[in-house]
C-alpha cells in the first residue's frame, strides 16, 4: 500500500501520473474523495489537536488541487519538479516573434471598443492558449524536455495576463 505524507508532491497525493496531460474529471473526483477523508468537518467533534492536523491536510489537498487543475500552474510545477524552475520574475526574455504578436494584440485591445471585436480577440487569444498548452504536453510528456518547456510556460503566463485584460475590458462594456 502506498503511504502518503504531507511532503508528498501533488501528483503522488492525488495518485495521478506525473505528467502534463490530466483528466480534469478525475482530478475533481479525487479532490472530493481526499477531502472526504481529511476535511476538518469530519473531526469537528474531536478536539483542537485533531482539528489542527485535519486542517493541515485539508489545506494541502486544496493547494495540490489548485495547482493540478490549472494548466499553467501544473506546467510550472512539473518543470520545477524536473529540475527546470521557471523563475518568471528573473527571466522575462522572450523570442522576438512572440513579443511582436503580444504587441499586435495589445494594439488591437486598445483599438477595439465593441463587444464583438473584443470577443473575436478573446477567441484568437484562447486559440493561441490551446496551441501553447498542446506544445507543453508534447515537450513535457513526449520529448521529456522541461528546459524547453520553461519557455512555453512563460509564454502561457503572458497569454493569461493578456486574457485577464481582455476580460476586464469586456466586463466594463457589458
Amino acid at each position: 500500500m502506498r503511504v502518503i505524507s504531507l511532503q508528498a508532491n501533488d501528483f503522488e497525493l492525488f495518485d495521478v501520473p506525473v505528467q502534463f496531460a490530466q483528466d480534469r474529471a478525475q482530478l475533481d473526483a479525487r479532490w472530493k474523495a481526499l477531502q472526504r477523508e481529511a476535511h476538518p468537518d469530519r473531526f469537528a467533534a474531536e478536539g483542537a489537536a485533531a482539528q489542527r492536523v485535519a486542517m493541515q491536510w485539508s489545506v494541502r489537498i486544496n493547494e495540490a488541487y489548485q495547482r493540478l487543475k490549472d494548466p499553467l500552474k501544473r506546467a510550472a510545477y512539473l518543470c520545477e519538479l524536473q529540475g527546470a524552475p521557471v523563475q518568471a520574475e528573473n527571466n522575462t526574455a522572450m523570442p522576438a516573434a512572440f513579443l511582436m504578436q503580444q504587441m499586435e494584440w495589445r494594439e488591437s485591445l486598445d483599438d477595439t471598443d465593441s463587444v464583438q471585436g473584443l470577443e473575436a480577440l478573446a477567441d484568437t487569444v484562447s486559440a493561441e492558449q490551446r496551441r501553447v498548452q498542446q506544445e507543453l504536453a508534447r515537450l513535457l510528456d513526449e520529448a521529456k524536455d522541461p528546459a524547453q518547456a520553461v519557455g512555453q510556460v512563460r509564454a502561457l503566463m503572458f497569454i493569461e495576463r493578456f486574457t485577464q485584460e481582455v476580460n476586464a475590458k469586456l466586463d466594463r462594456l457589458t
Binding site: R36, E37, D41, A44, E46, G47, A49, A54, S58, Y65
Partner: protein, 625 residues
C-alpha cells in the same frame, strides 16, 4: 476542553450517546433554531408554537430585557432602546452605516480602540455593542433548544451571509461565545439553504442560491454531486436587503407630502413599520396604502406595485449585477444553471421573482419555506459535525467571498488569497524591506477587491520586529495567510534568513479580545452565582471523566506510538486528574487539571490523527473511485 476521541473513519465515537446539536440562522429581521430529530430537521418552536424569533432586543431600565415579539411590541413606544436589524452593525464602524440618520438609535464610536473599531449603541443600560445584542438573541434560542431537549447543547452551527467579511464573521463567532454556545462551525447561509434543498430534492448539478434577507444579499453558485456541496463562486452585498426596500418605499411615500417631516425616533420607527406593512401587502395585492401618524402630521399615501417597483429598481439591479459577476467568477453561463433556489423573506417580492426569472430564463424554485430553509440546512450540518450521523455523506467545500491581502508601498494592496478560493486554505507571499538597516516591518491586513488600501476593509495591523539589519531588499519576509473552515483568517510573518516570527489571529481591530469576552461573560453570570458554581463543578467533573476515558481508549489503541518517558508523563497526569475528580471542590482547579492532561496529550493526539488521515488517504486511490 480538548476531547481526544478519535474514531475509525465512518464510525461514531460513541454510538449510544447522541449529542444535541442545533443550527441557528441569526437573521437581520428574525432568527431561528433548528435541530435534527428522528432523522428529520425541524425548526424548534417557542412556548407559543412560533418558530420565528424577531431579531429585536429591548433594553429596559435596570436589568430587564425583552427579546423577540415582546420587543417588537415596544419598538414604537421605546424606539431608542429597542434594537432591530443589529446584524447590519456587526463588525462595522460608525462610518460604515450610511443611513444612520434615518435610524432611531444613538450610535457611539467605540472608545479606546484604533479608528475603525466596532460601533456601539447607547441604551438605558449603557452602551451595547452589536455583539452583545446578537448574543441576547442567540442565548434566547439556546435556552429554547435546551428547554426543548431538557438537556445541555453540545454545539451549534451558526449561519452567516456568504458575503460577510472577516470582521463580520469574527463578530458573529464572538456573539455565539458570549451566549455560551460551542460553535461547531460558521457556515454560509446560501450553502446551508443548498444543503436543505439538495438533500430534500436529491439534486445533482449546478444550482444558484439567491438569498435576499432583511439586510443582506448573497448569491452563491454551487455544484451538487453525491452529497458534496462545492461552492464555485459567491457574491453579494452585506448591506442590501428588505430593510432597504422598506426605506425606498418610505422615501417614495414621504415625497408625496413634502410638508411632512420625520423628526423623532418614534417617527422613524413608525414610518419603517408602515413601509414594511405596505411592502408585504404589495406581495399579494396591486395597490396598498402607507398610513402613519407622524409628529408633524398624518401621512397617507396610496402605493401601487408599479410605484414600488420603480422606487426600488436600482436595488433590484444591484442584485442582478452581483448575480452576473458570480456567474463570471464561476466561469459559467446562465444556461449552465439547472435551478435557482430562492431564500430569504425578501424573495417574496414580485419584482425580485420577476427579475430572477427574466435573468435566468427559468422560473425560480420556491418550494422550500424561504424563512426556514437556512436554519434547517444548518441543523443538518450541525448534526453531522457533532458526530451523530456517522454514515453522513455530507461534505461542504465552501469559498472565501472576498480577496485577502496586505498593504504595500504607496497604499496599494498585494492580494495573497484571491476571492472564491476553497477553504481551508493557506497561501504565502514573500516581501522585503524598503530601507537599509530596517529592523521592523508594519503589516496591514486588508480585505476587498479594490487596488487601493483605502477602498478595502482594514482587518488588522501588526508588526514583525527584530529583523537583523540588512541592506534594503535583502530580507526575505514570508507572510502566510491561513483561512480556516469557518472562513476566519490568521496571519503569520517570518523572516526567512533570521527566523524571526510574528503572528496574529485577525481579531483586534473589529472583534472583541478574549479578555473582553471573559469580562462580559462574568458580568452576565453575576446573578444566580451559587447555582452557577454547583453546576460548573458538575460540568467540570463530567469533562474530566470524559477526558480520562478518551485518553485511556487512545492509549489502548495507539499507545505504541509513545516513547516510555512520554507514556510515563501522561500516566502521571491521568493519576493526578483521577484524584482531583474525587477531592477537588473548585471547578476552576479541576478544569485546569483537565486542561493539563489535554495539553500533555496534545502531541499524541496530533500524531494519532496524522496516522489516521494518512491511512485513510493512502487507502484512497484511483482504482477505488
Amino acid at each position: 476542553m480538548a476531547l481526544l476521541q478519535i474514531s475509525e473513519p465512518g464510525q461514531s465515537p460513541d454510538p449510544h450517546q447522541r449529542r444535541i446539536a442545533v443550527g441557528i440562522d441569526l437573521g437581520t429581521t428574525h432568527s431561528l433554531v433548528a435541530s435534527v430529530r428522528n432523522g428529520v430537521a425541524e425548526c424548534l418552536p417557542d412556548d407559543d408554537g412560533r418558530v420565528i424569533l424577531p431579531s429585536v432586543v429591548r433594553f429596559m431600565p435596570g436589568q430587564g430585557r425583552q427579546i423577540g415579539f415582546d420587543a417588537v411590541q415596544s419598538a414604537a413606544t421605546d424606539p431608542v432602546n429597542t434594537i432591530a436589524s443589529v446584524k447590519r452593525f456587526m463588525g462595522r464602524g460608525l462610518q460604515d452605516i450610511a443611513d444612520r440618520s434615518k435610524l432611531p438609535y444613538e450610535f457611539i464610536a467605540s472608545e479606546g480602540t484604533a479608528k475603525g473599531g466596532m460601533l456601539s449603541i447607547q441604551t438605558v443600560q449603557g452602551p451595547k455593542s452589536p455583539v452583545e445584542v446578537s448574543a441576547e438573541i442567540l442565548a434566547t434560542l439556546r435556552y429554547r433548544a435546551e428547554d426543548t431537549f431538557n438537556d445541555d447543547l453540545y454545539g451549534a452551527v451558526i449561519t452567516v451571509p456568504a458575503y460577510f467579511d472577516d470582521a463580520q464573521r469574527q463578530a458573529t463567532k464572538d456573539a455565539a461565545q458570549l451566549a455560551g454556545l460551542n460553535v461547531l462551525r460558521l457556515i454560509n447561509e446560501p450553502t446551508a439553504a443548498a444543503i436543505a434543498y439538495g438533500l430534500d430534492n436529491a439534486s445533482e448539478g449546478v444550482y444558484a442560491v439567491f438569498d435576499l434577507g432583511g439586510g443582506t444579499f448573497d448569491i452563491s453558485i454551487l455544484r451538487l454531486t453525491q452529497g458534496v456541496f462545492e461552492v464555485l463562486s459567491t457574491g453579494g452585498d452585506s448591506a442590501l436587503g428588505g430593510d432597504d426596500y422598506d426605506q425606498a418605499l418610505a422615501d417614495a411615500a414621504m415625497a408625496r407630502q413634502p410638508a411632512l417631516q420625520v423628526v423623532t425616533a418614534e417617527d422613524k420607527t413608525l414610518l419603517k413599520a408602515a413601509a414594511r406593512a405596505a411592502k408585504e401587502a404589495l406581495t399579494t395585492t396591486d395597490t396598498a396604502s402607507l398610513n402613519v401618524a407622524l409628529s408633524t402630521g398624518s401621512l397617507s399615501a396610496p402605493i401601487s406595485r408599479a410605484d414600488f417597483e420603480q422606487a426600488t429598481q436600482a436595488l433590484t439591479a444591484r442584485c442582478i449585477t452581483a448575480v452576473r459577476k458570480a456567474l463570471r467568477d464561476a466561469q459559467l453561463a446562465k444556461d449552465d444553471v439547472q435551478g435557482v433556489v430562492m431564500v430569504g423573506g425578501s424573495t417574496r417580492m414580485p419584482q425580485i421573482q420577476q427579475a430572477v426569472a427574466d435573468f435566468f430564463g427559468q422560473a425560480p424554485l420556491n418550494n422550500l419555506n424561504p424563512d426556514e430553509v437556512v436554519a434547517l440546512g444548518a441543523a443538518i450540518q450541525a448534526n453531522q459535525l457533532a458526530g451523530n450521523n456517522a454514515a453522513g455523506e455530507l461534505l461542504l467545500l465552501d469559498v472565501i467571498p472576498l480577496s485577502l491581502g496586505i498593504e504595500t508601498m504607496g497604499g496599494l494592496v498585494e492580494r495573497i488569497i484571491p476571492r472564491n478560493q476553497t477553504i481551508p486554505t493557506a497561501m504565502a507571499q514573500d516581501f522585503t524591506t524598503y530601507q537599509d538597516g530596517q529592523t521592523a516591518l508594519a503589516l496591514h491586513v486588508v480585505q476587498g477587491e479594490r487596488d487601493l488600501v483605502q477602498d478595502c476593509r482594514s482587518l488588522a495591523r501588526f508588526e514583525l520586529r527584530g529583523i537583523p539589519p540588512m541592506a534594503a531588499g535583502a530580507a526575505r519576509i514570508r507572510v502566510t495567510f491561513t483561512v480556516d473552515a469557518d472562513g476566519l483568517l490568521s496571519v503569520g510573518a517570518k523572516e526567512q534568513i533570521s527566523g524571526v516570527e510574528a503572528r496574529i489571529d485577525v481579531k483586534p481591530s473589529y472583534g472583541l479580545s478574549d479578555d473582553q469576552i471573559a469580562t462580559m461573560l462574568q458580568e452576565s453570570f453575576t446573578t444566580a452565582q451559587a447555582d452557577m458554581k454547583a453546576r460548573a463543578l458538575v460540568e467540570a467533573r463530567v469533562d474530566a471523566d470524559r477526558m480520562l476515558l478518551a485518553t485511556r481508549s487512545a492509549l489502548a489503541a495507539d499507545g505504541d506510538l509513545l516513547q516510555a518517558d512520554e507514556r510515563a508523563a501522561i500516566d502521571a497526569q491521568m493519576a493526578t486528574l483521577q484524584a482531583a475528580i474525587q477531592t477537588e471542590q473548585d471547578a476552576k482547579a479541576l478544569e485546569d487539571c483537565t486542561q493539563a492532561l489535554a495539553k500533555g496529550t496534545e502531541a499524541f493526539a496530533a500524531e494519532r490523527m496524522n496516522h489516521s488521515i494518512q491511512k485513510a488517504l493512502s487507502g484512497q486511490n484511483i482504482q477505488s473511485l
